[in-house]
Every structure is written in C-alpha cells, then in structure tokens.
Symmetry: C2
Subunit: 434 residues, 2 copies
C-alpha cells in the first residue's frame, strides 16, 4: 500500500521546536506516519500529497501528551467529590475498585480515550490493572500510550510478586505493539504502598530488562511525613536508595519536595509530571514547578485520573498550571506560555522516552491536532500561543492525526463508536455503585 | 400580544433554591418573562404552553451572573500576557485604552456579550467608559446588565466631576431601560485612583439619589500598603469612612483583607465579588473566600475583564474558585459544589440587587440555560452538580433564555451577527495596536 500523504495548508503552526517558532499561514506535509515538510506554501506541494486540508485561521500543533493518568478511574468521575482524601479513598474509591472487572476497565478506558481524543491528546501514560484491556482500547482507537501495571500492596512478597510478574508478561506481550503505538513501563505505585525490598526488586528487574519505571512521589505532606517516620528519609531519597531513579523514570506529582529532593531529581535526571488540577482538588498543595524548571529538571504535564480532576483536558491543565504558579509565586511572569506549551508536548515526549513526538518538525511522528479558532473567545487574534493557553477550550479541537492517520475529523472520532462507549460507561457505573 | 409560553420538559434541574434541590426529569413553565411552574410532568402541561422544549438528559439551571467585568477590555484579550502588573498596565493596557473610541467600545462590548451568551451568562456587571455604547449592545443583544461609568483620575476635582456627571446622566437615561434589563450603579474605580474627598462626594450623591455603588477594593498587597502609607488605614476602612459601604455595595476582589476588614464587610453587609482567574493570572493572591462565607458575607463570582483572565467563562470561573480554595486551605472539602453554584447565580443576583434572578422557582425571572451533557466528559452521570462544576465546559451550553425570550438556540445566538462581531473586533484590534 502506498503511503498516505496529507498536506495541511495555510495553518498557524505552534511548532514547539527549539526556537518556539510560531509560523503563520504555513504548510505541514505528512508522509506515512511521519512529518516530511514544514514551511511556506508553494504550488508544487499540492501535487505531492493525496489529501489537502485547508487550515486557514486554525491553530495546528503537536498533539498533547498526558503524562500521568489512570484511565479506568474515569468510571468514577463525579462519583465522590468534596471529601477528605482518606474518606474519599477508603470509603468511596477503593470499595468500587475492588469490584472492577476486565470488562469494566475496558469500558472505562474507552471512555477516557474518547474524551482525550476529543480534547487533542494523542498520547498518554497510564498505570492501573487489567492493563491488557487498556492496551486493547489503545490499539483499537488509534491513540498512542505508555502503559504500566500498577504494583502495590503491603500483603507480603508473594502477593506483590504476581503483580510484577503480570507487568513483565504485559511488557513482553505489548511493548511496541500496534506498530509501536504502545510502550510499556513498570509501575511501582508509591513508597507507601510498596515495601522497600519490593521497590528494590522492581528496580533490579527494570535495570535487567531495560524497562523504564513510573511512580507516584511526594504527592502529599502525609506521604512525606510517614515516610520520614518509617525510614528516616523522604520518599524521593527512598526511591533513589532503591535504585528507581534515572533519566527514564517518570515521577508523578513531586508536590512536597525540599532542596535535597530537588538535587536528587536533578542529578538522576528524573522526569517529573505535574498534575495541578488533581493536586488542587485533593488539597495536596502546589508543586514548585518554577524552581524545578530553573534547576533544569524536565517537567511534563498530566491530568491524573478523572476521579480527582474531574476530566482529562490538557488545555485546561495547561491553563491551570500557568495560573497556579503565577498565584503561588505572586509573580504574573511565572510559567509563561512557551514553557507551559512545552510541558504539554515535547517535555512529555521526553518523559515518556518517545523522542519522535511533541514537535512539528520534519522527521517527527505525525501526531498533530487542528484547533478551530473561529469563536468569540479567540478574538481579537493577537497571539496564538496566548489564545491557546489562556482562552481556549477542549471543545475547540477539531481534528486529530496520530501516526499519520486521521483519527478525529470535524469533532467526530472515526475509530470509536461514541454512543456505545457512553452507554457502556453508564451501565458499568450503575452496576458498580449499586 | 399574548405572552410567550414555553415548557421545558424532562430536565435535570439545578434549582439553586433554598434546599439546593436537584430535580430529575422535571418541567419548568415560562409565561412571558417569568417562571410560572416548576415540578413534575403531567399531560395537561403541554396544552398550557405554546412551545415545548425537550430537555431529556440535559442540565437546566439559572443563567450565570458575572458580577464583575469590564467588557470593553475584551478588545485587549491576549494582547499582553505574562508581564509584571505595572509593566502590563502602564506600557500595554493604558496606552491602548487612551485610544479607545465609542465605536471601539461598542465593538468590544458586542464581542464580550457574544462570548458571555455562548457560555451561559445571562446577566453581567460592568464598569468602564462610553457606557452608552455598552448599554446599546446590552439592549440589542437581549442580555441583562448592571452598568456603571468608571470614576477615576487624580487630576483634580473638575476632571473627576465630569465623570460623575456622566454617571448621573447615564443613570437617568438607562436605569431600568430595555424593559428593566439594565440597571445602573455608580462606579468609583478604587481608593488608589480616586481622592478621599471625591469618594465622599460619590457616596453622598449615591445616597441622595439612592444609587448603589461598585468599587475595586483590596485587590493587591501594593494597593493596601500604599493606602496605609497615605491614609493610615486599609482600603476597606477608607471606603467605609467615605460612606461607600452598605448592603447594596459591590466590592470587587477583596484579596488582601485582615480580620478588621472582614468585620467591616460583614457589618456593612457588603457584597464581595470573587475573581479567581484574574487574581491568579495577575499574581495578586488568593481571597479568603471560605472565611468570608463562614462569616456570612455574600460572595458573588466574576471574571473581571478578558485581558486579565483571558475569557468570560463562568463555568471555568466556578471550577477555578473551587480548586483555588481547596489548595489554598489544603482542604478538599472547601467550597463544595452547592456553594460555588450559588456564587455564580443567586449570590450574584443579591449582589446586583436583582432579587428576581438566580433561582429556578415560580415567580422568578425566566433567565435560564440548558446544557448539553451527551459528551464523554459528562460520563458516567452520577451527580449533575459535580459534573457542572468539575467536568463541564463553556461550549456545552446549548440554549439561553433571558427575560422569557430565547436568545441562543442550539449554540446560535439569535440576536447577534456573530461573523460581523468577530470581524469588527479584529479590525478594531488591529487599528488600536498598529
């Protein structure tokens, strides 16, 4: 089969390249799964591509990379809110999670992926269980993902071992599956749900198999306090002592960090995922993102699960990240638009070890979104980057291309049966919470 | 002409009544400008109304009341961001404001009203100049508003007097205009842009003419510091000493307030408008909303002007208000959904002295919005109030009814020429910033 060749023309392109170039009325050529042209229009271009999409007045940019999620938790969106963390977890979330079946996880993953595609997310990172069902939903929908089996439990080595074994099997079956759209990580949940010997075992296995690791680190004051009480050191130091931290590690949250923690994150070149809405909604606190960025640490952006957010909207997450740092530091120049756009794109690519994503440049994978700006909230049009971060709305995303394939066109997801997915999610929600 | 009679049926109604009732599959009857029925369906109902609108699966609720705005500043949306406050104001905003013409203000007000209608705002409060042009835009569009001429300047009594005189003339011409859709306030801008004798003069005139007042109060640390340096007391104490504070006064921001300030706001029964996104974006700080609410102070919600937000989206503002209090107090139970929904509706009505707005109840004005929830981010549907505050999106608002008249239907604003408004806004923006 000959390669699909698509030309996007007359677009305002937020490239997220090294110069943060914003190109006006420009063209992007796609050949197969890859971007092969970025630049001015010329008449010859139209002959070189099968499909020409007019993007006049639209913003075109790399798809968003949601670097921390638990897609099956979308089934618990808006089920329990405005509660204390432990009340929420132990009385609301855990009892339902215990009842989840592979089919329910599949339905929830479909719902989450549908929502992410609608809002322009083209790649996500996930940590949960029944991950083969999530992988199936990724494969069928056309999205890209980095998946890991959540490794947790304090109930003794044997119980923990079967989960690690599952993660290993999952890696063997799905790493690079679906033309490379899936990659697999190990997912030790946290220092408060895994024993230290277990964390070491995971780290050793990861090193031996060359598999990267993602983990929740220093999300709340209680986590840090309890870790220091138990081990005498912070969660970040503990994870480092277990051998978990390196340049391919994804550390979610990092809200409660001191200067020594920051030094470790920097030295180990750990990738941090900032989840501002989840941290705010759960009252966890504010990660010192400006400080981490100044240090040179790579910061990606994530939504966390929808049950503590309550959606999977990277445009909203970008805006929240910017506003939260501005008010937290009382400095309106904090986290300017170029930085926050990088967090949602190229920094996420780096964090997920997918170095061909996150930029509009020849040679990069064609994961591209097109945003409709013919709406009152985009006017007047002074600056497409400011519009994107400060005025846009997830519903403005019109078209989504992943791996060179048109997945959503004019807001219709071509690879998924939307009505069916909403119906199934509702049916499972009612079954689980009855 | 016989009264237009509309029946909304099969709706999930967020009433915002005294019990915060959420009614399932219920009906709302509208006769003329007023709600005359709220309750269960019965077949007779259909005979009593000319128009029946099926609202199955949709959220129906009072329109949002945006209690603090400067609509003409929409012309400067995304013109200058990520700047220090004084740099932003003196080098970017003020030079353009100096060039504004009545026609530019008219174009900007139209843009702002179009955006507000699209997002479900049915009433707003405004403070600026060339307010007759804003009034005209309000009249033509069918929205409801409380308008005031911004009174500011340190350039001597005479200069200030012509502005007050304009506000008085504007009151005489437009108070209760357009079937009562417009009300007029006096708009002394702040304690840092008005001298104390001038504030007293405005207060006296307001008392004499029985006109309520709106003012910016205690927005930033600098404002409070400078006021104490100049007068020895806080802005709230100064405004009180000038006689400006009473139960019909609207005080915008109130970010930097101490216990004595709060006591004054409480004793004078002042209405406070919270503007979380503007306060965050400008790095001003966090208003202690939980504390003010606990004290029994009425808190409304506003967007402030679009140039420091950067849009006029009350759904987004509600969500931001909730998340900001949760993280600021490190308490996920802070500002729960019922409170934040009230802030955006009935509390705003009280603050604007429009006591027939903000609730779905017989006898109230028919200012009602219908929200489409057949989208992935609303699923599963456990709790319509949580969905509204934590998952919704301004683009989900489908239909807007104001004063019993359908102003927006299926996302089309029937009273405005959208294409023309966007074109005019862009043309003015380019002219002003050339």
């Amino acid at each position: 089969m000959s390669k699909l060749r698509i030309l996007l023309k007359d677009a305002d392109v937020i490239t997220v390249n090294g110069n943060n170039d914003l190109l006006k009325k420009s063209c992007i050529g796609i050949s197969g799964t890859t971007i092969d042209y970025v630049g001015d229009y010329n008449a010859d271009l139209e002959d070189n591509y099968h499909t020409v999409m007019n993007c006049r007045g639209k913003i075109v940019m790399p798809g968003f990379i949601n670097a921390h999620n638990h897609t099956p938790m979308s089934i618990l969106r808006n089920y329990a809110d405005d509660l204390k963390l432990m009340d929420w977890l132990f009385n609301k979330i855990f009892p339902i999670e215990d009842k989840l079946t592979p089919e329910a996880v599949h339905a929830a993953a479909n719902l989450a992926i549908l929502e992410m595609l609608k809002g322009g997310t083209t790649c996500f990172s996930d940590m949960y269980f029944f991950m083969d069902r999530v992988a199936q939903a990724v494969g069928d929908s056309g999205i890209r993902a980095v998946l890991s089996r959540g490794l947790q439990g304090e109930s003794g080595e044997e119980d923990l071992d079967y989960r690690l074994q599952e993660n290993i099997e999952f890696y063997k079956s799905y790493h690079h599956a679906f033309s490379g759209r899936i990659q697999v990580m190990f997912g030790p949940h946290s220092v408060y749900t895994c024993s230290l010997p277990y964390l070491k075992k995971v780290a050793n296995k990861a090193a031996q198999m060359n598999v990267p690791v993602q983990i929740h680190l220093s999300e709340t004051k209680d986590e840090v306090k309890n870790c220091i009480e138990k081990y005498g050191i912070s969660p970040i130091k503990l994870a480092d002592s277990a051998g978990l931290l390196n340049e391919r590690t994804l550390a979610a949250h990092c809200v409660v960090v001191d200067d020594e923690d920051i030094e470790i994150l920097y030295k180990r070149k750990v990738n941090v995922v900032h989840n501002p809405r989840s941290n705010m909604k759960l009252g966890s606190g504010v990660a010192p993102i400006g400080k981490l960025l100044d240090k040179g640490i790579n910061i990606a952006l994530g939504t966390d699960g929808a049950s503590s957010n309550n959606n999977l909207d990277m445009l909203g997450e970008m805006r929240m990240a910017a506003y939260l740092q501005k008010v937290f530091t009382e400095d309106p120049t904090a986290l300017p638009v170029d930085q926050v756009i990088k967090m949602a794109t190229v920094n996420g690519a780096k964090a997920l070890n997918m170095h061909e994503l996150g930029k509009i440049e020849p040679g990069m994978k064609a994961d591209i979104i097109i945003i409709d700006t013919e709406k009152a909230h985009y006017y007047p049009k002074y600056n497409a980057k400011s519009s994107l971060v400060y005025s846009s709305n997830s519903e403005d995303v019109e078209t989504v291309i992943i791996d060179g394939r048109i997945i959503m066109k004019d807001k219709e997801v071509l690879t998924m049966d939307e009505e069916r997915i909403l119906f199934d999610a509702q049916e499972w929600a009612e079954k689980l919470t009855k």
